[in-house]
Subunit: 146 residues, 2 copies
Amino acid sequence: MTFTAPDTLDHAALEEGTAFAPRFDAAGLITVVTTEADTNAVLMVAHMNAEALSLTLETGIAHYWSRSRGKLWKKGETSGELQQVVELRTDCDQDVLLLTVEQTGRGAACHTGRKTCFYRRAVVADGSVTLEDTGLPRLLDPASVY
Amino acid sequence: MTFTAPDTLDHAALEEGTAFAPRFDAAGLITVVTTEADTNAVLMVAHMNAEALSLTLETGIAHYWSRSRGKLWKKGETSGELQQVVELRTDCDQDVLLLTVEQTGRGAACHTGRKTCFYRRAVVADGSVTLEDTGLPRLLDPASVY
């Protein structure tokens, strides 16, 4: 699957047009926000290269590029927590993707075993800031999965 | 407001601890996903530097770093579309922030006048992909605001 080269589009076409021209960065990656279809909850933020994006669109299963491992990452291939694609959107200037999925398996998008990676909130007190656990349960035991 | 330096934390402290150690990138920026409190809708994705993050936490009004303009960006200062902070979360490895807000003004987080920047979806047909407008109305006229 091929995508339109962003530099072939003018500003109006990039922001209002029908050409899909993902603006991969210098490393060939684009930021992806993944949300859960039923709740709109943000599950994770990751990256895709062109191959991962193509595979995601072609197979209906989320594929990313793992920056830490430097390789294509079929989410859930090890853990069983595959993500089925419901919808893919892009933003106004096409440098971010919004992927809506149904999280399969035990429902743990995060490698810590929680539903979402965003399980801690910032709390400000006396001019300093700390994190507080929001209490999300672990849906799987990472030690037994990874 | 000061933040913990990520390199002073071990892996467990970074992922499970109470120290807030945002992992700003080489340019001093961290990716921020901004969602609407009532609906969980993803409104936009932007970046903060340490100053923008401090101001956001101290004032309760979202501040970002504009990469295109190379300056601090109090969201809505020009348009009136300020964002009131409801909650700020970080992810497992603290390199992304999730900001939940009440979008004030006319409710247009996107500079195109729409509620969200994610107003187009990808549609695959015959092996190629195009964008389709999801029909979000313009809540303000960009030409009269910016």
